[in-house]
């Protein structure tokens, strides 16, 4: 077991981040408006969504503009299960996740055959197909107006009831699910299957030489990414109490890609950082300027040009520089002048 002293600087930052997320509903109201607790919850949901795009791009080398499909499927799975079929909370959640995952599997059968721009194009096409079906099927989906629903309780026994209507409980529910998903993603990426994702990203035919079927590896990655996007869609539907066709449009996927790139593609928590940074920029700037997206665009251009490894890369190199300097200082033998200045001249 690692002690605090043995932790790497980035791990210490991770611990601080975890502590922040764990205490946000208590600490944020002390320094800011309650509204920011909801923003942090939203950041966690979108961070998971961006992480699903990262699983494909950062680890498997597939740039997807179709993650919104599975996000939307998760959201509509929950909304329709509750609103039309009258399901209770947990069955509706499971339906949402299952619908997203199955959709990812079916679309993945076709998409995983392609790579690079062909893959990106087919994911945009899937996004458009599902978007137009959802918009056109207004009676069921509510189209762009959305499909609001009433939240069933998470748990009910006798007179005792727990519901997401309690905003603190809702926050911790989202935190638990998102943390669980990241733990699962971490385990996946540290398993031979995760190494196979990276192997396929580096060189698909070379991965074939060690016995992997690159198509199957891409498909598995695609389905997992669909699953994580589906979970984020389910959470967002529960959070906003509605599902909307708007969330299936490819520009939503594009936002996920932007968050991932700004945060740091190919790192586990980079997408959360990217989502956090750009959502906070959006919230702050949109108060003063309706064309705030222009600023977001400039930020993205700057990152892509000057810091392609994203915030995570910047953080890592800054921490490496600081701690390396400290280590070097600690290991260096003081010069005669330094020793004299510290200890005084020998008598």
């Amino acid at each position: 077991m690692k002690t605090l002293q043995n932790l790497e600087p980035l791990q210490i930052l991770g611990l601080i981040g975890a502590l922040f997320f764990l205490t946000a509903p208590i600490t944020i109201p002390l320094v800011a408006n309650d509204f920011w607790v909801s923003i942090v919850a939203e950041i966690m949901i979108w961070g998971l969504f961006a992480a699903s795009a990262n699983l494909l791009f950062g680890y498997t080398g597939l740039l997807s503009f179709g993650q919104a499909v599975y996000f939307g499927m998760g959201a509509y799975g929950v909304a329709l299960s509750i609103d039309i079929f009258g399901f209770s909370f947990w069955p509706a959640v499971l339906v949402g996740i299952a619908v997203a995952t199955v959709t990812a599997f079916i679309t993945g059968i076709f998409a995983a055959r392609l790579t690079w721009h062909y893959f990106a194009i087919i994911t945009v096409v899937f996004s458009l197909i599902f978007f137009f079906i959802t918009v056109g099927w207004y009676d069921v989906t509510g189209g762009d107006d959305g499909l609001p629903f009433t939240l069933p309780p998470v748990f009910k026994a006798g007179g005792f009831e727990v519901s997401l209507l309690d905003l603190t409980f809702q926050y911790y529910f989202i935190l638990a699910v998102v943390a669980g998903c990241f733990a699962l993603m971490h385990m996946l990426l540290k398993s031979p299957l995760g190494f196979a994702f990276i192997a396929v990203r580096e060189n698909a035919s070379r991965a074939g030489l060690v016995g992997y079927n690159p198509y199957m590896i891409r498909l598995v990655s695609f389905v997992f990414a669909g699953f994580f996007a589906g979970v984020s869609g389910v959470l967002f539907a529960l959070f906003s109490r509605s599902a909307s066709a708007h969330f299936l449009f490819w520009t939503v996927s594009g936002e996920g890609v932007v968050w991932m790139i700004v945060g740091g593609a190919g790192t586990l928590f980079g997408p959360v950082l990217g989502a956090a940074f750009l959502i906070i920029v959006r919230e702050e700037l949109s108060l003063y300027w309706e064309h705030y997206l222009l600023v977001v665009g400039v930020i993205v251009i700057l990152f892509v040009t000057y810091a392609p490894q994203g915030i995570m890369g910047l953080l890592k190199s800054a921490l490496d520089r600081i701690f390396k300097r400290e280590r070097e200082a600690a290991n260096s033998v003081p010069t005669v002048g330094e020793a004299v200045a510290k200890e005084g001249p020998e008598s």
């Binding site: 190494f195 192997a199 030489l209 016995g211 992997y212």
Partner: protein, 235 residues
């Protein structure tokens, strides 16, 4: 164990392999020599299904490998160490060893590998891309061994390696072969091939033009000179 019969391979209109016949027996070490561009690498690529042959047969054990998907071929026990090492540079040494196993290697499997390649133990958490050329080559071989390959196809393993590491690598390949694993070695380094292999094929313009033992080749230096342009005394 491995048998090539009348193998023809084309790159577009270019007829590269023109009826190649070649055999490697159980536990045997065989070298395929030839000048640049005669089709040695294409022969290995055709065996592994990367450049599928247009006609002819490749049989490994009882399986026609030219009739199955390329990714299934390594699973039969045919390990390929391509030219230029080709390890996964962003994965650590340990992760490179996990690749292809579908599970982390057991302690015993790792011990066995680290005994043969002690340098890899020291580098276990280091990214593959940061290893030296010789270390990458050892990692590429180790990766095949951990997958329990019955035969190794090696494409110019000494290319770009420091001269003092060539002897180490030669001994490693000999040791691998001595453990019962067959070796088909494609080499430009004539001395290395003679030192490691018992049987030699020489290739010219996509055709096998000579087949004989290493001993015979040493005894007939004019053959090496005629086909490879090297003088046997130089060895």
């Amino acid at each position: 164990m491995l048998k090539l019969e009348g193998l023809n391979t084309h790159y577009g209109k270019s007829h590269v392999l023109q009826g190649v016949d070649l055999k490697v027996g159980d536990g045997e070490s065989v070298a395929l020599l030839g000048r640049n561009g005669v089709g040695k690498t294409t022969t290995l690529r055709s065996i592994m299904g990367l450049t599928p042959p247009s006609s002819g047969a490749v049989t490994f054990g009882d399986t026609r490998t030219d009739q199955i998907e390329p990714h299934l071929i390594p699973r039969l026990g045919l390990g390929y160490v391509p030219q230029g090492r080709r390890i996964f540079s962003n994965l650590t040494v340990f992760e490179n060893l996990c690749i292809g196993l579908n599970r982390p290697p057991t302690e015993d499997e790792l011990d066995e590998i680290y005994q043969q390649f002690p340098i890899l133990k020291e580098r276990t958490t280091q990214a593959g891309g940061t290893l030296s050329g010789g270390e990458q080559q050892m990692l590429a071989i180790a990766r095949c061994l951990v997958m329990k390959s019955k035969m190794l196809l090696m494409d110019e393993p000494t290319e770009g390696i420091m001269p003092k590491l060539v002897a180490t690598l030669r001994n490693k390949i000999r040791a691998v072969n001595a453990s019962g694993i067959s070796v088909l070695l494609v080499e430009q380094n004539f001395v290395m091939a003679l030192a490691v292999c018992t049987r030699i094929y020489i290739m010219e313009k996509g055709v096998i033009c000579y087949e004989g033992s290493s001993h015979d080749l040493r005894e007939n230096p004019d053959i090496a000179h005629r086909y490879l342009g090297v003088a046997i005394e130089s060895s």
